[in-house]
Symmetry: C2
Subunit: 428 residues, 2 copies
């Protein structure tokens, strides 16, 4: 077994990798150790539209990596909504502004009815940070269960439940990690064991927090329904089920608007972010009013930028585009086309292992000739695809799973273009 | 002495206060216990421009409360910058995008030279959350010193150092609170005592974290230089000085661009937020490269929305407007006019105690006839000013200090209009 790689570093530019351009040197000087540039020879982007990004040198890239501009880069409906609202009013939730409640109403209409309160935040990190505290206030317990290579954000609390961001250490005593529901894993049994361990150590169970497509674990979407028994076990232990929809939400999985809905599991709290405003910084937590009230008894919560009317206008535009352009249905159709193409290619190459996922979120395992996860070949494929004009990234415990995550507005031609490029790279 | 009031609740709408309009009922249903509406009869806003906000009923309000739209509501230069950039490219820091580094360079040009790394985040909360972890990584200690009624944000970690958000409890064992540098308080002595207490309890000193205008404590700006000896004491104890510039930064104090600069104190870390993008959700932490590297050895940090090019474009526009329109100088001039008018009015009323501050950030103590802080009269003044068409809020340990915080583009006529309204309300 290979050493676990830290996901955030996968595919990263490292100083010394290549001759540095002045632009790259400037970035490294500005962000220092927190620099996260991609590729040995980082790309300078100047514009983007639909599924395409364009570099300074005129080269165009098909974006199979960035899941934030989910309805398409620079979507005119989102651009118009933001430009219009920011020119009229941008303020906070201390005043009534109709577009904010229009948006929350629109979200509530597609969320489980019990989750009638929505707290708007700026980032998925803030939403998960809040969700964990709500779960602790409700349960009176401290313990949290997440998947083995989970990523839930960047605040102090949320980093502690994000093993994929750790460079060392094994996490807090109140945390238990379970393998994702992959072949041969009994997810319910793992969660039961984890809950028992937390109770034995005196922490109790506050929450099971999972991204239902287990993206940073390497994309494990199946079988639908696999979460149900585990969620029931967590509830028996007094904990809440927090569905982190930052990755699978907003139609990406094709068969449902939310990742949890695809599994038929009913969450106690839903958090969302990334594609919510197609790049406008916004996120949210939806919870039961009595649960939110339990948290608010101890502490006041105000988020200056959370729930500003420009975010609400962006969010409304995103929901409308997903509905009017049938993007969830397109994710299902294009996802099927993509998956069958990938399966076809996998049959021609010993370096492609399992291919899995849902809708336009697929994971492709890269292996060595003995079938062992192979991060070096993964890196070669990522860089080869970049040379072919395709952006893609990796995930998983070994950093050896390609994360295939194009915008939901993808066309059949773009699917075929990717498959052709992928075929050339894995044959090369 | 009166009971300390939780600042976040000051001036809040409480269900049952008044007949609820359908809009207010809808908001309460949507945000539940996390609702933060202002006024017994909340205001529905529809547009805003310069120092003015306009309600649905056509009523216009002079905004002396909201410090986010600091260069003026709906400023055309910021609107144009956001509209232009969001229509071309909105992505993350995994790619080089010039406007992002242009912005960081512009910030660095006005920050202490040693703070050469800037990590962009979505909110001041995220920036302070990160800053505390950097300070802990650098110092190897856990203890934090903040002011008595501090507010530094809403994440789990940052809420623990924000006494003004607590409804109960006394904070973590690794926290020490010191009175703000008001009359009769020896700030250095308080900080030394706090540092000694943290060391005695085995936590050590990671950081002194202060907003240098002590806004949520009730606005304590003087004397300039009061921080210096305290900062030196913290450094001797092995801790860092984190200047939280979310409130005093970006020219508001008139005499300097940053609050810490007004005090001549050199911070180890600077955090900023609120007015940075004039309402576009953005914030940042500036730190020394070796300090940031110490943090990044343990954990990866990536912020999806942090450092997006639209935020950078908004931030650049804000810096340009502050410079080109001379807003720091205007804050000094208008602040002086406002302060002298308030002093004049204070002399006519027994209910106005101390008036203090810097530039366009003033605190006005409201007292009962015996000179005791009087939150009820403060609330009466806030509501009276609302009837006069002026928005204002309160702060301080007793919720009895009016927080006077208009946009930096304020005109002399607007100052006089406020003073006339304030005079009528305190005489009433």
């Amino acid at each position: 077994m290979r050493k676990t790689r830290q996901i955030l570093d996968m595919n990263a530019f490292a100083p010394g990798d290549a001759a540095q351009t002045p632009e790259v040197s400037r970035r490294l000087g500005n962000l220092g150790a927190a620099s996260v540039l991609f590729y040995r020879d980082p790309i300078e982007m100047v514009r983007a539209e639909g599924a395409w990004m364009e570099a300074r040198d005129g080269r165009r890239y098909l974006d199979f990596y960035n899941n934030v501009p989910s309805v398409g880069h620079s979507h005119p409906a989102v651009v118009a909504a933001v430009s219009d609202q920011i020119g009229r009013l941008n303020t906070n939730t201390r005043y009534v502004v109709q577009v904010v409640d229009d948006y929350i109403d629109a979200l509530k209409a597609i969320l489980p009815e019990a989750l009638a309160n929505v707290v708007m935040t700026c980032s998925g990190s803030e939403a998960n940070d809040l969700a964990l505290r709500v779960a602790r206030a409700v349960s009176g317990a401290r313990g949290v269960i997440v998947s083995e290579t989970a990523y839930h954000g960047n605040t102090d609390l949320v980093t502690q439940v994000s093993p994929s961001a750790w460079k060392q250490g094994s996490g807090p005593d109140w945390l238990e990690r379970v393998p994702p529901p992959s072949a041969g894993e009994d997810f319910e049994a793992s969660v039961c064991r984890a809950a028992a361990a937390l109770q034995r150590r005196g922490h109790g169970v506050a929450a099971l927090l999972v991204d239902s497509i287990f993206s940073s674990d390497g994309v494990f979407a199946d079988p639908p329904g696999v979460l149900d028994a585990a969620v029931a076990a967590v509830r028996r232990a007094g904990g809440l089920f927090i569905a982190d929809e930052v990755q699978p939400g907003f139609g990406r999985t094709g068969s449902a608007f939310w990742g949890f809905a695809r599994h038929g599991a009913e969450p106690d709290i839903v958090t969302m972010g990334k594609p919510m405003g197609n790049g406008f910084p916004m996120a949210a937590m939806a919870a039961r009013p009595d649960h939110l009230a339990a948290f608010c008894r101890d502490v006041g919560y105000f988020n200056t930028f959370g729930g500003n009317p420009v975010a609400a206008a962006a969010g409304l535009a995103v929901l409308r585009v997903i509905r009017d352009d049938g993007l969830q249905q397109n994710a299902a159709r294009m996802g099927a086309r993509l998956a069958s193409g990938l399966h076809r290619l996998a049959a021609t190459s010993l370096r492609i292992g399992d291919t899995r996922g849902a809708g336009l979120f697929l994971g492709v395992d890269v292996v060595d000739p003995d079938g062992v996860p192979d991060p070096d070949t993964t890196s070669r494929i990522i860089n080869g695809l970049r040379d072919e004009g395709v952006l893609i990234g990796a995930a998983g415990k070994y950093g050896a799973t390609l994360k295939v995550r194009p915008p939901l507005c993808l066309s059949a031609d773009e699917v075929d273009l990717f498959l052709a490029a992928f075929g050339r790279v894995i044959a090369g």
